[in-house]
């Protein structure tokens, strides 16, 4: 298997912006993560081949950064910030609430493969704590009520076959 044409095209389109081939590694990993939801060993080999890099280089970089998941995750990735300002404003309760609601602990994925729950480090949203990310979207000033609603909505959207957690990609919403 080779890298999807779509990804190759995207990477080729930004190639001229960088002086080295390796600079394209992070963007390529982002594209793969975005396309498949995680970065498999297979994908790492493909990236290596495409960018003329040894697989070891690709893997050492992919394993360094937390945003690249080296194992499959749920379709909806719930990441709750538990760092100081969020913690001071009740992030623990939010984690507990999500955990109860989804029936999983932090770091786990629901059996149906729909939800993954994780703790994330500072999202730079301390003024609107507690904060979380639902796939690509930020949600801030969380309460147990709003969090429960968010999870319900995400589940309903998922069952209805809608894209979840990518509000900011929609035209007209932003910018």
């Amino acid at each position: 298997m080779a890298l999807p044409e779509k990804i190759k095209k995207t990477i080729d389109s930004i190639r001229h912006q960088f002086p080295t081939e390796q600079a394209l590694l992070l963007p390529a990993l982002h594209e793969v993560q975005n396309e498949f939801g995680w970065v498999s060993m297979e994908s790492m080999k493909d990236i290596g081949e495409f960018l003329n890099l040894p697989v070891s280089k690709v893997r050492e970089v992919a394993s360094f950064y937390t945003m690249y998941r080296l194992e499959p995750a749920g379709k909806v990735d719930i990441q709750i910030c538990t760092n100081i300002s969020c913690w001071l404003n009740g992030a623990d309760k939010m984690v507990e609430c999500a955990s109860r609601k989804l029936g999983i602990s932090v770091g786990e994925t629901t059996k149906d493969g729909n939800f993954t729950l994780s703790q994330v480090e500072c999202l730079a949203a301390c003024g609107t704590a507690p904060a979380m990310m639902l796939n690509e979207d930020y949600y801030e000033n969380l309460t147990e009520e709003s969090l429960t609603q968010l999870l319900d909505k995400a589940k309903a959207d998922l069952l209805a076959g809608k894209e979840v957690g990518k509000e900011t990609r929609k035209d007209g919403v932003w910018p």
């Binding site: 937390t66 945003m67 100081i84």
Partner: protein
């Protein structure tokens, strides 16, 4: 005005509450947008550097290094071994992730063109034709907005070839990070920008000699760039006058934690921490207990030390630092040991692992704090924490280890009684010593 500072006016945030403030049209019509760039292009690069130097603008990312001086370190006409000219790069550090800091996000979403204009001026000053904006990967929305802003600036001829007919070229490219706190350290950022692991580099050579892709480079924070257009258009004197000696201009102070009105406040630096807490609506849910004044890495201050002013030098004198401007307020319901532990867990996770002192030290500190919380601590632990810290600070490639010891050491020093009480009581739940030291530290950390 309660600031008692007649020279103060907002430099970066005068219009951030107005609708549409993030657009290029708004910036051009209401904020004299790109007029400072026009002025710059008629000046000599050395004059621009001089202007910034005299303004006393200091790096807003954390270290507080004078910006003009940093720019002046860039070689004028670097050449490689064969005598061919080398490119120079200007890099914007937008990997905002210091706990308690959220000002760059405000600039990105509300006034992105101010930062872009500052970068173009910076590029002109140091003789660079290419800039990179390194943005943290979680900011999907902010990255889209910044890309739109850059595209708009290209369309109007503020970026690209022959800017405003001056013959000066400048390109701006966004690079997306991938969730590593350490990439906010400038040399780690440069490695990451090259598509490598974000591990800090040994200095020297400094980035001004060997930076991004082996070329002379200059890295500045988002807020630093955003202050530059004002300095150029209004002159260094006006900017310098707003702050105390050696700390020119305003700062974006991010107030979070137990306050009634958390948020970003643009303020002069002659205010005390207490003044700022008052501005942010006062302490929420109890009395003031402790404050972290400059992002998580800054040593904490007790309530009785909060009369301290917030300029770089006053905070340094108080044994802490101005850092990134993240003011985290804690009320008296907070258990300091627990609060520090949440920070140490973060550092344990984010240590890049190059230096053993930091990799092991951050891990040990986190586990020792956990043990005290769980009821397994001893009085000796407190001295042991200090010992671990002294083996970390200043012993490593970058300042991360110093950052870990900031909260760890200051919490023990300033709230020792609380630690001792917790140890006597047998942890948060008061269950007594449940696990022995050797038991807890078994198993290597991977």
């Amino acid at each position: 005005m309660m600031y008692n500072n007649e020279h103060f006016e907002p430099v970066i945030t005068p219009n951030v509450t107005k609708p549409g403030c993030e657009t290029l049209d708004f910036y051009l019509q209401n904020e004299n947008g790109y007029k400072a760039l026009e002025k710059t292009l008629k000046m000599k690069p050395a004059e621009v550097v001089d202007e910034v130097k005299k303004s006393n603008l200091r790096g807003r990312g954390g270290a507080g290094f004078p910006t003009g001086m940093k720019w002046s370190f860039m070689p004028a006409n670097p050449v490689d071994e064969k005598g061919n000219p080398k490119p120079k790069y200007l890099v914007c550090n937008a990997d905002e992730g210091e706990p308690g800091t959220f000002k760059d996000r405000l600039i990105f979403t509300k006034t992105p063109h101010r930062m872009i204009e500052g970068m173009i001026i910076g590029g002109f000053a140091i003789g660079s034709n290419k800039g990179f904006v390194y943005i943290r990967g979680e900011w999907h929305k902010e990255i889209r907005l910044m890309q739109k802003a850059i595209d708009d600036a290209y369309a109007k001829g503020f970026l690209g070839k022959n800017i405003l007919g001056s013959g000066f070229d400048f390109d701006l490219v966004i690079y997306k990070g991938a969730g590593a706190y350490i990439c906010g350290e400038e040399t780690a950022l440069l490695n990451s920008l090259e598509g490598k692991r974000g591990e800090p580099r040994l200095k020297p050579p400094f980035p001004a000699q060997v930076g991004a892709y082996g070329m002379p480079s200059c890295v500045n924070n988002v807020e630093t760039f955003a202050a530059v257009p004002y300095i150029i258009s209004k002159g260094w004197e006006k900017y310098a006058k707003m702050g105390p000696e050696r700390s020119g201009g305003t700062r974006l102070i991010c107030v979070s934690g137990h306050v009634n009105k958390p948020g970003v406040y643009e303020l002069p630096m002659n205010l005390s921490i207490n003044d700022i807490i008052d501005l942010a609506g006062g302490v929420k849910g109890g009395k003031l207990k402790a404050v972290i004044p400059g992002g998580a890495s800054a040593p904490m201050l007790r309530a009785d030390e909060c009369h301290c002013l917030t300029d770089y030098d006053s905070l340094a004198k108080a044994g802490t630092m101005a850092g990134s401007g993240g003011l985290i307020v804690m009320n008296d319901s907070v258990n300091i040991v627990e609060a520090t532990y949440t920070l140490l867990k973060f550092y344990e996770h984010e240590s890049c692992g190059q230096c053993s002192q930091c990799r092991e030290g951050s891990h040990w500190l986190a586990r020792m704090f956990k043990r005290i919380l769980d009821g397994g601590g001893t009085q000796d632990d407190l001295d042991y924490i200090a010992k671990i810290c002294s083996n970390m600070a200043g012993q490593t490639i970058c300042a991360f280890a110093d950052a870990v010891t900031g909260p760890a050491l200051s919490s023990v020093r300033k709230f020792r009684g609380e630690f001792e009480e917790l140890i006597m009581r047998g942890g948060l739940k008061g269950v007594g010593r449940v696990e022995s030291f050797s038991h807890k530290l078994e198993g290597a950390h991977v």
